[in-house]
């Protein structure tokens, strides 16, 4: 009996190896700078938090839609889902059906099993966009919106409200994904169609570059305000083609999504909602210490 006790004694003192949590990151879009940043942030956090991360993306060519992904995550034995969506109703319903705990990223989701929500500060983002245009526009001017989603985008509602307050008219809302070429073609077309267009607001980084190239090509005096940042966009800001870009902390959203999911699985308290601020990047502040570290994150 003593032998048995002695054998079990050290075992009782040993920390049992914690079972690795399995976390699913569901992205409602297959590609795009914003989504890639979220995925990168999530991967970084997963490595630091020692959780197993699986990223699920829609694959429309093979018929895998975003709303199919929650069930797939459930079948794969995931413990928690991080849903980076734009609030699509079908995905919300699919998430509800899995009954898995969910951390909503980027958009508020009404779910019973919601652990936490990590959001971009949309109000401030819309406000920042309007402010960035403010110097270039006056009452009666017109604005074109280039979006990467059919759904209402982060900050779009707030922007429209501000523009309305400024007496600026939104001439149209064009979908061009997060594609430079697509945005270039769409912008060229719209610039021909709208000769009096005063400004363009683009909701994705690469599309902003495309829009800037079109404006530069036609040598039109059209103010451009973009979203997020890629290297080409920085050059556009430097040469003044793009007045400003609103940089969201999408990396941080992915990172915090995984962190909260891991903490919740370990039984620790997590904030119900966390809002990350976006920053306005202009030619004047691009190389300031504060903006540099956001625009050129050290890899």
């Amino acid at each position: 009996m003593l032998v048995v006790l002695l054998l079990f004694l050290p075992l009782s003192g040993c920390n049992r190896k914690e079972q690795t949590a399995r976390v699913a990151l569901i992205l409602s879009e297959g590609e795009g700078h914003y989504w890639e940043n979220i995925a990168e942030g999530a991967q970084t956090a997963a490595q630091r938090m020692n959780v197993q991360l699986e990223i699920y993306r829609p694959d429309r060519e093979n018929g895998v839609l975003a709303e199919d992904l929650p069930e797939k995550a459930l079948e794969d034995g995931m413990n928690v889902i991080i849903a980076a969506t734009q609030g699509e109703r079908k995905i919300t319903a699919a998430l509800e059906e899995t009954r898995l705990p969910v951390v909503a990223v980027g958009t508020e989701l009404v779910l019973q099993e919601r652990i936490s929500t990590v959001l971009n500060d949309d109000v401030k983002m819309g406000d920042n966009m309007a402010r960035a245009l403010g110097n270039r526009l006056q009452e009666g001017d017109t604005v074109l919106l280039l979006t990467d989603s059919a759904e209402s985008l982060s900050g779009e509602t707030e922007l429209r409200q501000r523009l309305e307050q400024m007496g600026v008219t939104v001439q149209g809302r064009i979908f061009c994904g997060d594609s430079r070429d697509w945005a270039y073609r769409q912008t060229l077309q719209q610039l021909y169609l709208l000769p009096d267009l005063d400004a363009i607001v683009v909701f994705s980084a690469k599309a902003t570059v495309g829009a800037a190239a079109a404006v530069k090509y036609l040598r039109r005096d059209v103010a451009i305000v973009g979203t997020d940042v890629v290297t080409e966009l920085i050059e556009c800001i430097e040469d003044g083609t793009v007045s400003a870009t609103i940089v969201r902390n999408s990396f941080g959203m992915g990172y915090l999504g995984v962190e909260y999911a891991a903490e919740a699985l370990r039984g620790n308290a997590v904030p119900d909602e966390r809002t990350l601020a976006s920053v306005v990047v202009t030619r004047d502040n691009l190389f300031t210490a504060e903006i540099e570290k956001i625009v050129f994150p050290y890899e």
Partner: protein, 574 residues
Amino acid sequence: MKWRPSIRLVMPLCMVGVALMVMVIVCVIYSTTATTMFSQLGMSNTLQAMDQVSERLSDSIGQVKDVLREVADGMEEDRGRADSRQFDSSLRLSAGAMENLSALLLLDEYGNSVLGLPSAEIKKTCRLTSMDWFNQARTAGLGETVFSRPHVQNLYPGEYPWVVSVTRKVRYWQDDLPHTGILMADMRLEPLEDICRSVTLGDNGYLYILDDSGNIIYHPEQKLMSLELISEENILSEDTQSEDQSMVLAQTIEGTNWKLTASVTSDDVAKYSTAFISRVTWVVIALTAGVLLVALWLSMRIVQPLTDIQVSMQRIERNLDDNRMSLPEEGFAEYASLAHSYNVMLHRIRGLMQETVDRQEQLRRMEIGALQEQINPHFLYNTLDSIVRVMETGRTPEAIEMVQALAKLFRLSINNGDYFLTVEQEMDYARNYLTIQQVRYKKRFKYELYMDESIKDLPCPKIILQPLIENSLKHGMSDMPGCTLIVRARQEGYNIVLSVEDDGLGIPPEKLKKLQEMLRDDSNIMVKKSRYGIGLRNTNRRIKLLYGSDYGLTIESEVEERTCVTITFPKHRP
């Protein structure tokens, strides 16, 4: 039977208990010492690693500074040669420095490029005069080396490297005119990162570099910190600060105003100690298990023979009469000796038991013998025949006396079945016997009886005098008329002494000697038959059986003079 702890249980427990106690004490002492020692070792290792990294960083930064100095000195000494060849020759002097640099520029005071490596054209959108590093250098003294904060350099199209701009205000010659300019080297951060990553500080420890303003030059989690996803308190002091679970150590990198900072957890510092304690714990467990096994084996070895002995003893206890049963005399010497002693004791017990049985048998036979003596038909026939002859001769009083004596003889011999008479009764028995025999022997002898009054009521084995009297009459006085036979009963100390003495023929010395030896020898309790003195021998045996070998008969005799047989036995009943 009341439960008692067995050796089999107590011995291993005691051994393990003692072993555990000793090992735990040793472990505690060793662990305490080891923890301190290993903590110091861990700290020492950390400081040593920091020294190495600091030295390499200093060398790396020193190369950049050397390049600036070489170029500056060259331009100072060799007027008008502020050209790209000057740069190249200076860079060659500092082998490997180019790996650390992303750009080397000579700028005039207005931010215009004079010379540059790479020679690509600086972007038109680049406004150098608005750069912090340019303004820092412009306000510095001539020849002074200034380090900028880490920043993104945007000199060339499509390139946005993170660098630290190292600048030096220099004098150069252009068109034979002296100018003051800024010599700038963009030092890439990757080499510094590689140096910092080249050492590991435990599982969780890491190194980072801060400048004198607290700006992070390098941090392994720089991106997360930039995005404010994690934070770390900037430590600018060189003192060691202990926090809850981590320690921060900082030291200045030589030749700069940067601090190399190490963040190490106490677990990492003490990891050798933890590993040591863990190993020691396992050793203790293994040793305890070993001691337990040895103790169990030893107790088995010790206890098993005892158990065998116990079982054997119980079996022998149940079958004590079985002479074939004994303990095996094997195993340890102590057990063999114990078994031997037990077997000897067993043998003696069995001997004593047998002796007791034999003694009882002897007594029974003696008793039967005594009874047979009382009703000896020859004696009775002879006596009755004598009575008849006496009566035929008209000696009626003698006949009456004989009949009365015979009657008393019988009464005393029966005595309610008691084996003992009083001394007085025994003397009466002798008197009656002598009365009968005197008639039979026609009064050819005389007899006298003497008895101490003090012993008349003391117990005496019955009919012990009669065989001696008969013996004396038959052998001592048979052919000698006028002999006297004296029977005495007296006390000597705690003993009663009865004697039968006659003044008859006496016993020849050889025969006397044999008789004396026969009576003296204890072993003759179980004696073999002898031709001599059967009556004496039987009486002697009876006394010895009843009272032990210290008592019995003695015989003295002188030829033609006298013979005296003495019986000695204690006053109390056996």
